[in-house]
Each structure stands twice: as structure tokens, then as C-alpha cells.
């Protein structure tokens, strides 16, 4: 079973992290990632660049409106993710608890990643996506 662990932080978390030595943050995250690798469960992981460099597209009007960062509220923004291959949702939760994300308002969201095989296989768009996944090794 694949699960995505999605980091979420707040302005306060980021502020708190500013005060910590960058090497310490790197080391804490590195140790956690190493644990995941040692346990044979890590499939993929990426961090995201500062939300201030991001853009939000708002669909509440037609046409949608694009706004550059920074945003008023960062607490619902993702900071990065891990994809783990584990035996159960509880195991994914247990790993998430060990992630070095401590900070005011910090959260980690855990979502199952369904396989493309769970979608209707006779759908032409699913077929097309499978072809792309095959060509690019994303299956």
C-alpha cells in the first residue's frame, strides 16, 4: 500500500525553523529519511520551494484569477512529501509521527496513493495515462 505523507507548516513554524541552524535541520531530516531507507519503505520524497515563490489560482470567478505569493496564510500549504510503501495506514501514521516537523501548527497529512489499476481500465484517458506512465517509468 502506498501512502503520501504531506508536510504542512505555518508562518510560525517557518519562523521557528529560521532560528535553528540549517545544518541541524538538514541532519534531522537526513536521519529520518535514512531510517525510511533502512526500513525499506521509502518510494519517493521531495521538498517544495518557499511558498513566497509560488502562485495560487483561484477558481471562484470566471476566468480563474492567478495571484503571486506570498500568501496571507501559509497553514494550508504543502512543504513537501514522502511516498512510502507500507503494510497499513497505521504504519504510515507511525512513520509520520517520527518526522522531524515539530513546530507550532505543523501538520502532516497522510493520504493513500491509489494505483492506476484502481481506475476504470476501459477508459481511454486512463489508457493514455498508462501509456505515458509506461514511457516515463511513472507506474
Amino acid at each position: 500500500m502506498k501512502y503520501m505523507l504531506i508536510m504542512r507548516a505555518t508562518d510560525e513554524t517557518f519562523q521557528a525553523f529560521q532560528d535553528v541552524d540549517f545544518n541541524e535541520v538538514m541532519a534531522a531530516m537526513g536521519r529520518f529519511n535514512d531510517e525510511l531507507i533502512r526500513a525499506g519503505v521509502l518510494v519517493a520524497a521531495e521538498g517544495l520551494e518557499d511558498a513566497a515563490e509560488g502562485v495560487v489560482v483561484d477558481y471562484s470567478s470566471e476566468p480563474p484569477v492567478a495571484t503571486d505569493g506570498p500568501y496571507g496564510e501559509t497553514k494550508e500549504l504543502f512543504g513537501g512529501f514522502w511516498i512510502l510503501n507500507v503494510a497499513s495506514k497505521e504504519e504510515a501514521v507511525e512513520w509520520a509521527k517520527r518526522a522531524p516537523l515539530a513546530g507550532p501548527g505543523s501538520k502532516c497529512e497522510i493520504r493513500r496513493v491509489p494505483s492506476i489499476d484502481e481506475f476504470p481500465q476501459d477508459n481511454e484517458w486512463i489508457q493514455k495515462e498508462k501509456a505515458w506512465r509506461e514511457a516515463t517509468g511513472q507506474l
Binding site: A39, G40, E94, L139
Partner: protein, 416 residues
């Protein structure tokens, strides 16, 4: 609120921590069998306490502390002045002994590796090695192991109890074997992981979902092993073989669960990410040097199939070469038979027939339908219909698997 440390949460912690808890307790008490008992007692206590009081802040530390207290109790019961007890009591100190819970990664690696070698010790039966590995290194419960192998839980428990007694009687020390023994013993570790995988991947009977989980657990164990023994080419070779084999799972069965032969598989359904991981593992096996072993060579054959667009486009010359190497390294009539099939694809059926005839003359596969079925296939392609019919009929007689028999009967009918 869901997050109160229910049974599933305890099980999740256990899966992640069991190997190091057993390992730390074994290092601490110097007694593997006792350590495993203590760890199980700690787990049992967690299953009662956590759902009631909530999970502790440091679950691993909690389990280890309980295990250590039980160790002290055990030694106290055995003999108040037991030398080991005195040592333990000294180590335990005032704080209940959680001080060194901040594990030293090198020490943990050694512990987990030692557990793997002990669980796969040659004094144990194959069944016992499998059960003990899944329980001690994989963190599976006796129930889960029983479900995966379609045997009663009591059987699994009896196997584990007997295995621990055997290890105790043989005075197996808790340690990674010395270098001169390691190569030999590694073979046993790898074969146990491979056995777990094949049990999980043979979807012939039982609850297939659980068995695929078992194959996944074998892949995880192989990944752990390659991390622990990065200088062992066969650990990488085994991981490569498992990844490349598992990559075909999605295409290996049809809508009704019937097996689909390699030549008929929809290769678009193969798991490209698994193929990529498998090829990377194979490349690491080659980088280590010292040549590929039996697992690495089988992985190399699997890679030939994985990168080919079709059966026809497969590099059969290379497959033949690898089968020749495999036959020299691990001679077996089944390898020879597979080589014959590869030769027939590379050079035509006439070139392959002598290999098959030699195997038939040697009488090495007397009760297998495979030899007759391959011979029948070759003769069919050569147009020697009457002889082909005789072989296919024999293959059908010998074939115990109903699904495969249907395929053979279809071939026989096609002869007209």
C-alpha cells in the same frame, strides 16, 4: 478520536521497531531466545495498556523498558545472585534503562543483521527459518504468518518455540557470524527471503491479497539486507530478481485469475518503477564486482525480458549466454531446459532439440511435464507433428496443474 493507540497502532509500532527491540534485548541479555520471549511479552503488555491509556510518547522506549524489566524479573527468579543479573541490574541504573534508547545506527544495523543470520541459521528447518525471520525481522505476528502460509496459528507458534529451543541447544551466539562463515551463511539468509517471496508470488491458492503482501515483505527484507550488506553482490542480485519478478505481477493473471504466460502478457501492465529499481539493484550487484551469483544471473535474465518490447524482440542470444553461466554456477535440469527454450528462440528449434533429448536420456526430470511439453513444442515448430503429439499427450498426463493442462490441451488440439 482514532489515535489512542489501538491494536492497529500497536501493530504498526511493532512492525517498525520489533527487530531493534529484540536485537537490543538480545545484546543486553546475551540470549536470543529469551530476548524474543521478552519482546513478545512487552508487545502483549502494550496491546493491553496502550488501547486503554493511550500510546506512550516514546513507544519504542516503552517496549524496551518493559522488556528489560521482564529480563530482570526472569533472572531474579532464576537466581538472585546470577552473575548476568548483577550485570544487568548495574546497567539498568536508576532511570529504568531508557538512556541508550537513542540508538546508535551502527549498533542497530549489527543487531538486525545478527537477527537475520540467527533466524536463518542452518540448524533450523526451512519452515522454522521462514517463520522466525518473518516474526523477528519482519515484525509479523504468528497469526499473520499463519494466514500467509495457510497453516494454523498453533503450528506457527510451535515452529517458533521449537526453533528457539533448537538455537538454544546449539548454543548459537547472538552475533553476526565471523567473516569466514558469513559467505556460507549468507546463502541461507538469501534463500529464506527468496522462499518468502515465492510463497507470496505463487498465486495458486489461498487469499491472494495476503500472499502478495508476503511478496512485498520479502522485497522489503531484501532492501534492508542490501543496506546492511552493501558489499555483497548477491544481496543486490536477489533484490534485483525480486523487483524484476514483481514488476510482472500486474500482467501475470487474467481477469478470472488464470495465469498468463510470459509470451501473452500485456507488457504495458508491467510496473516500470519496479523494473527501474530492479535494474538499479542489478547494476549495484555488478559494481561490487566478484561476478554475479545465481540470483544476480536470474535477475539478468529477467532484465532481458523487462527491457524487451516483445518476446520476438528479446535478446535471446544474451539469455542463452546467461543460462549457460547459470548452468555452470548452479547446475540443474530445469536451468538446462530453460536454456533449451532460449536456444530455440535464438537459433531455432532444431538447435534446441539435442539439449532436450540429452535431458530426457539422462532421466533427470522423470515426473515433470515440463520436459515433454518443451519437446512437444519444439517438434511442433519443426513440423514433426506425430512425435509432437506423443510428447504433448505425455505432458498432459504428467501435468498436475489444471490451468497449465488446459494450455497443453489447446496446443494438442491445434496440431489437428
Amino acid at each position: 478520536m482514532a489515535d489512542t493507540g489501538g491494536r492497529e497502532a500497536v501493530a504498526a509500532v511493532w512492525r517498525i521497531e520489533s527487530a531493534r527491540i529484540v536485537g537490543a534485548l538480545a545484546r543486553y541479555t546475551g540470549d536470543f531466545a529469551l530476548a524474543e520471549d521478552l519482546a513478545q511479552e512487552a508487545l502483549a503488555e502494550a496491546l493491553v495498556t496502550w488501547p486503554r491509556d493511550g500510546a506512550p510518547r516514546n513507544p519504542a522506549g516503552w517496549l524496551l523498558t518493559v522488556g528489560r524489566r521482564r529480563a530482570i524479573d526472569t533472572f531474579r527468579r532464576r537466581a538472585a545472585l546470577d552473575e548476568r543479573y548483577a550485570v544487568l541490574a548495574h546497567d539498568l541504573g536508576e532511570d529504568g534503562g531508557t538512556a541508550d534508547i537513542h540508538w546508535d545506527p551502527d549498533q542497530i544495523d549489527d543487531d538486525v543483521l545478527a537477527l537475520m543470520f540467527i533466524s536463518c541459521h542452518p540448524v533450523l528447518s526451512r519452515e522454522a527459518r521462514v517463520a522466525l525471520t518473518l516474526r523477528v525481522v519482519g515484525g509479523l505476528t504468528s497469526d499473520e504468518i499463519a494466514k500467509a502460509f495457510l497453516v494454523p496459528t498453533a503450528t506457527v507458534q510451535a515452529r517458533i518455540t521449537r526453533a528457539k529451543k533448537t538455537l538454544g541447544a546449539a548454543r548459537v551466539p547472538f552475533e553476526v557470524p565471523p567473516a569466514e562463515e558469513r559467505a556460507q551463511r549468507l546463502g541461507s539468509v538469501l534463500s529464506v527471503v527468496y522462499l518468502i517471496f515465492t510463497e507470496g508470488s505463487s498465486a495458486s491458492s489461498g487469499d491472494r491479497l495476503i500472499r502478495f503482501d508476503l511478496a512485498g515483505e520479502a522485497q522489503r527484507l531484501a532492501r534492508v539486507l542490501t543496506r546492511l550488506m552493501p558489499r555483497e553482490p548477491e544481496a543486490h542480485g536477489l533484490l534485483a530478481l525480486l523487483e524484476l519478478t514483481a514488476a510482472r505481477f500486474p500482467a501475470r493473471t487474467g481477469p478470472d485469475g488464470e495465469p498468463v504466460l510470459l509470451e501473452d502478457q500485456d507488457r504495458r501492465r508491467w510496473d516500470r518503477a519496479a523494473i527501474r529499481r530492479g535494474r538499479a539493484a542489478l547494476a549495484r550487484a555488478e559494481q561490487v564486482g566478484r561476478g554475479l551469483g545465481a540470483y544476480g544471473l536470474q535477475a539478468a535474465i529477467a532484465e532481458c525480458h523487462a527491457v524487451a518490447e516483445s518476446v520476438r524482440a528479446t535478446d535471446w542470444d544474451r539469455v542463452v549466454l546467461i543460462y549457460e553461466a547459470l548452468g555452470r554456477l548452479a547446475p540443474s535440469p530445469v536451468v538446462d531446459l530453460n536454456r533449451a527454450v532460449a536456444v530455440s528462440m535464438a537459433k531455432g528449434p532444431a538447435a534446441a532439440l539435442p539439449i532436450v533429448d540429452e535431458l530426457a536420456a539422462a532421466g533427470t526430470l522423470p515426473n515433470s511435464h515440463l520436459l515433454a511439453s518443451v519437446r512437444g513444442e519444439l517438434l511442433t515448430r519443426m513440423g514433426r507433428t506425430e512425435e509432437a503429439r506423443a510428447d504433448l499427450e505425455q505432458a498432459i498426463r504428467l501435468c498436475a496443474n489444471e490451468r497449465e493442462r488446459v494450455v497443453l490441451e489447446r496446443k494438442l488440439t491445434a496440431l489437428g
